[in-house]
Symmetry: C2
């Protein structure tokens, strides 16, 4: 097998969220009849249940009406939009952001790709938390980096995320060039404590490691939790740090594909060079939607976060009532990552069975690290009643496939 064939053989999407339609299910040894119910796709949030930010369509329309000056922007994004957004991000994260420290991208995925591609090259060691967002692992492989897994024992104590700082330091000592992690963590919904974030920053500073922190869900933090922005700690060289965020999740703007990366101007310049050959720019008319972000109507975000917390509480109580299913309460973001003891089928087949027999789509844990063979992820940004019924069905089906 040649280099490029081998590369793509490793790069799977069949279990990726949203791609379930391509899965084969003929081989499944199904037990019992399906349970009827309205389809719920927990692989991503439902933007019909939680609609796009008010004013987003109107902002797009205004951009369209501007015409050529909005259709063709600098590759890094329209200057006047970067000027405003850099102020918003500075105030949100608590550390300086200037327009030259910011690039607008097609979604947060776009930002992540450009960031990884601008920092790592062939053979570079990259530290990735396990579990963490599945694309991190795939990106390291695509750029021919070497993956260095850092375990996070998120079930050990609910007082901290559980990153193994000893393993992290050993990895940094061994020559890791980049640490990439999400906070809140995807898939567990765990938030790193202030102490953990500061320890990561100090280690990165000590060993000169570049850090990309994916803060996609950092505007959706649940009660009694404090969120710590790494970039505001003043412990790292700002030129070795990049923060990624976007309005696709809590704000439900995924259909516009909007993302942003901010930090090291040198890396932002590289990202722009790369964006020039990857897709030119975040779609010009869509860029016009950025300015409503961080300027939602009074109380809108608080209400939305509270609504998510209520769904979380409801679903958590369903999972916790089930013997042999353990789950850590989500602290930020919309994910739950239950762990099921005594499964008779592998997790990839279980997710297919849930589709066929419960009309429920979830994502297998193995997408987030090879060891998560008894976990699955669900995004609870859904209609509350439908989500409740769907999890009741799913739990009934899961029973059939356990020892």
């Amino acid at each position: 097998m040649d280099y490029i064939t081998a590369k793509f053989a490793k790069l799977g999407v069949d279990n990726a969220p949203g791609q379930e339609i391509r899965q084969k299910t003929d081989h499944l040894a199904l037990i019992g009849d399906p349970i009827d119910g309205v389809l719920v796709d927990f692989s991503h949030g439902d933007v019909d249940a939680f609609e796009p930010l008010p004013g987003s369509f109107e902002a797009f329309q205004k951009g369209y009406e501007v015409g050529g000056a909005q259709a063709y922007t600098e590759y890094r994004g329209k200057a006047v939009i970067r000027e405003q957004l850099s102020k918003d991000l500075e105030s949100f994260t608590g550390a300086p952001v200037t327009p030259d420290m910011l690039i607008l991208t097609p979604g947060t995925q776009g930002a992540l790709f450009l960031a990884m591609g601008s920092v790592i090259g062939r053979g570079d060691k990259v530290a990735i938390i396990e579990p963490d967002y599945f694309a991190n692992r795939k990106l390291v492989e695509f750029f021919d980096g070497e993956l260095v897994p850092i375990p996070m024992d998120y079930m050990k104590s609910f007082d901290r995320a559980g990153i193994d700082l000893g393993v992290l330091e050993e990895a940094f000592k061994s020559g890791v060039k980049l640490l990439e992690f999400s906070n809140p963590n995807n898939p567990t919904g765990v938030i790193y404590t202030r102490e953990e974030i500061r320890a990561i920053a100090e280690l990165a500073a000590k060993y000169g490691v570049f850090v990309i922190v994916d803060e996609l869900y950092s505007r959706q933090i649940f009660a009694h939790r404090t969120y710590t922005h790494l970039r505001a700690q003043g412990l790292m060289d700002p030129d070795n740090l990049l923060t990624i965020i976007g309005p696709s999740k809590t704000e439900s703007l995924s259909g516009f594909r909007l993302g942003a990366a901010f930090g090291s101007p040198m890396i932002i310049s590289r990202m722009e060079k790369l964006q020039a050959i990857v897709s030119l720019r975040c779609a010009g008319y869509c860029q016009a939607v950025f300015p409503i972000w961080f300027h939602e109507p009074e109380g809108f975000m608080e209400k939305r976060v509270t609504a998510h917390q209520e769904i979380r509480d409801d679903l958590l109580s369903l999972f916790r009532a089930e013997e042999g299913i353990s789950v850590r309460p989500t602290e930020g973001g919309s994910y739950i990552f239950p762990k099921v003891e005594g499964l008779n089928v592998d997790i990839s087949d279980l997710t297919k069975i849930l589709r066929v027999q419960a009309n429920v789509t979830v994502t297998p844990g193995t997408e987030f690290g090879p060891q998560f063979t008894d976990c699955f992820r669900l995004n609870f940004s859904q209609d509350p009643a439908k989500a409740h019924d769907a999890i009741v069905r799913a739990l009934q089906i899961i029973k059939r496939y356990r020892k």
Copy 2:
């Protein structure tokens, strides 16, 4: 310099169309006063002069109103849209296209990036025509391929494009894995003859070379010219061929970032895997605009092509009236690539001088091949009167910097 630093040092964007705002101009030794006039940016088409296809905004709006089912599509694009577009592309190009042979991408640049990334790997030889679209060269470098230039003597005879088929066969013999070229050619506006296209296909078949043909401008062909779709010739293994197209140019939909690649299902699958980590998908709401493409109001495209032909004729007559400036008449697309004899300044400085003294933006020839040190490219999809005046000004300024 480490691997990644060296890679980005080579990957420039400062001379790329649309990035002129970042150029430094302090070093220029300017002769005479500037000539007043309305700014014309010939680095790309003016979508205010030639507006987006009628119905495009309304199609977007309908997509937005669909909601979640439009925001989240398969990574390769929404199935129902691919079904219709595959029929349209089959009928346009004259050879079968099925939905599994098609991927929707963020612009044609997106398609090109995914295509190149799916075919070539480290060390692979890639044949690139000179002159041709600047991103081709940069993509080969980004993917660590080895560039094999194929000269095209487009000024030799106006009866053919002028690709050197002897050099091409030698390149193929030497182990080239991929040929990538644009037709109509960017920047010259030349169309390959049927004989040239068939010769390319036969050589590719003989040596098992993969071909990516960028047909972005193939709907804008001027009078008395016949356009030949490589994929309709039946001379190549269809699994070794990919065609790229999009509605950003003649159709003026660039602000939505829409592109398409179609051909080898195996490569399309790879492109989808890559898109999953690059930007997930072409923006969901924007995908809703695809169905109006190839279904323009009766006579709309003919009228638009005729309008471009008239601007071409006008600007060509201005260039031809100037001694020592040679230009081949554009056969398809919106580019003119004049060659200026006896310049006293280098072409990159000339383009900066034109910005400063004539309020005119053009792209230096060296973006399209290192040898084009006395050429520049302009996109004449502009307001006709403004474009005329701008070229009159540019020619007056150019006179000052010639021997």
